[in-house]
Amino acid sequence: MLSILRWGVIASFLICIISLIIMVLKTLSFGRKPVYAKSQGKGIRGILYAFGKGMMPWEKESTRRHILTYTGGTLYHGGIFAAFFCLFSLVMSFELSIPLKFLCSILIGLGFLSGVGLLVKRILLIPLRKISCVDDFAANLAVDVFLALALLNIFYPGLETFFYGASIILFLYIPAGKVRHCVFFFYARILFGLFYGRRGVLPRKIRFET
């Protein structure tokens, strides 16, 4: 049973990756608009900004204003990466050292709490609820269950079956629902960097020192 589930995880992972690649190709098929206007700054500098300084909480008013959500989101994603790492070790059958297990359990635990916190926020805040769809709740729930089982599996290895099951569901849901932002976030962020970098806005191109 376990080995079937393990192969199930591998298969669903491959389906997920292939689907995401197809989605990116489909997106690219909408065509690229050629650029004619002379640029004023370098797109590459904008991209570096977008993935560097531009991600810092002090750079954006929205993150400064919602520092709890920002922190929650960061911890959530930290937990997800740790849970995937645990899944990887399980599938590849290599034992994690005690300190590594300890670190992962902390990260996953914090990630889980943050995920649940964000879900509660989405349920309770009217404006947020109004801009949400079922997919937003389902995606959050699927990831929370995945995190909870990853955490439990560290302490009760007998729960492997459930952890594998949750992983398969998550992998299959990623390309279909909003979790596809695991790829599109980077795509959109590159575009953001290119746009503002080319226009010399971010990072600011200073020609006149004031």
Partner: protein, 445 residues
């Protein structure tokens, strides 16, 4: 409401009411054609995290949910998902996917035209960095393709197309105004040789104006002429294609926008001038500097600059002598979104003002993080949304009050129009000037 406006309003409501299925199909087709891989990536990326909400002056001033940028985006997302995603096709309710139908049109018009100034502030604050303003503009373009641009905005566009400028100023009146302004200039600089050149072939710069200047505020043209005079510049105006504004930008209709901006290119070619210099106009700058080459699918053989860049350059090179004590009152600066956040002209206006006024005070926030005044995106041309526009201007009014400045400098005639209204509505008691006017006052000739 006067009869003409009432007629336009009724006509527009009728148009929405009686829209045909084939029109909706056309709008969808245009929307699809406007999608590039960029927009498709954006439409796949919203997290519905809501962090963009407080970045929009509409939501901040009213707290209305349809004013949340992500909500406006979701109206477009619906259609995209319905047509281009698996879940949207198979389980539309799961992702709130929906086809563009007649019942969605009033909300599209109200939100996409009436709750957005295309200012781009939400992009900067979005967790992902989605270019919401440009997606909204694309959706506006789909509405424009089937005649669903709100009447005031559409009639401004029609005027620009048919009369050559957005204010329907006849050519003879423009020429006469320029002659009269030249006399003003001569008196101002006390030089009988001073002139405002018209159609001078081979001049270095072709200067464009916002037609509201000759119509209502002609002295702002004299201010620029005085600066050119003091700098000893070789420049000219055009008697025909001189309008810096482009309301096609606001309607999202790229063909119309291309036609309007193409006129300035024609002027450049006809007069053989070296650089195209745009008057103080936010959307005019974004349109002509950044977007027009894309609309026209053409690499320009000349540079497109804002007058702000030109003046900053003169000061840096010592071509202008300024006495800041001639502007003794505290001055603050309105950063026009399309010049600054979307245009990349950020420090020049500060460089100028710090040398032209005795005391310069920044608004908070400022530069690319600045709030929109509320007058962009064609709002000033759409009376049906005027009340909301003024309400949304509260954020700007509060920013101005906080500075305790007596003068607001704005390198955008459109912002100036909105600021003039905010001045009255919120009793700000400030003077509102263009940057060139302030520089002209400080000039030592």
């Amino acid at each position: 409401m006067n009869e003409e406006k009432k007629y336009q309003k009724d006509f527009f409501e009728d148009r929405i009411e009686n829209i045909k299925a084939e029109d909706i199909r056309k709008a969808l087709y245009v929307f699809h054609r406007k999608l590039s891989n960029q927009s498709a990536a954006y439409l796949n990326s919203c997290l519905h995290c809501g962090l963009c909400a407080d970045s929009c002056h509409y939501y901040l001033s009213t707290g209305e949910i349809p004013s949340i940028p992500a909500y406006k985006l979701s109206l477009i997302e619906k259609i995209f998902k319905k047509h281009f995603t698996l879940l949207g096709k198979r389980a539309p309710g799961w992702v709130k996917a929906k086809d563009l139908t007649k019942d969605l049109l009033p909300e599209w018009i109200d939100s996409l035209f009436g709750r957005c100034t295309l200012c781009g502030r939400c992009s900067l604050n979005c967790s992902v960095g989605l270019n919401i303003a440009y997606l909204i503009r694309a959706a506006r373009g789909a509405l424009a393709s089937v005649g669903l641009v709100p009447p005031g905005l559409q009639s401004t566009i029609n005027t620009a197309i048919l009369k050559g400028n957005s204010m329907a100023l006849p050519r003879e009146d423009w020429i006469e105004t320029v002659e009269w302004l030249a006399e003003e200039l001569r008196a101002e600089v006390n030089d009988p040789q001073a002139e405002i050149p018209l159609d001078r072939k081979g001049a270095r710069l072709l200067y464009t104006v916002n037609p509201r200047e000759p119509m209502f505020f002609p002295l702002s043209i004299v201010a620029v002429a005085k600066i050119f005079y003091a700098a000893g510049e070789s420049w000219t105006l055009s008697s025909e294609d001189y309008d810096v504004t482009n309301y096609g930008f606001h309607s999202g209709d790229d063909n119309v926008a291309a036609l309007i901006s193409g006129r300035l290119v024609r002027s450049m070619e006809k007069l053989g001038t070296q650089d195209l210099v745009l008057a103080e106009c936010g959307h005019g700058f974004n349109s002509n500097r950044w977007e027009a080459p894309e609309w026209l699918a053409k690499k320009y053989g000349f540079d497109v600059k804002s007058i702000i860049q030109i003046v900053a350059d003169y000061i840096q090179k010592g071509r202008l002598k300024l006495d800041p004590s001639r502007n003794p009152e505290p001055v603050t600066l309105q950063d026009p979104c399309h010049l600054v956040r979307l245009g990349g002209i950020v420090e020049e206006q500060r460089y100028i003002l710090k040398r032209a006024v005795a005391r310069f005070i920044e608004m908070n926030p400022n530069r690319e993080k600045n709030f929109c005044c509320g007058g962009g995106g064609g709002q000033l041309a759409m009376p049906r949304f005027a009340k909301r526009r003024l309400e949304a201007g509260k954020i700007k009014a509060d920013q101005i009050k906080e500075t305790e400045a007596k003068v607001v400098a704005s390198p955008c005639h459109n912002c100036i129009d909105q600021l003039l209204e905010l001045n009255k509505h919120f009793d700000l008691r400030v003077k509102i000037k263009t940057v060139a006017e302030i520089v002209a006052d400080a000039l030592v000739i």
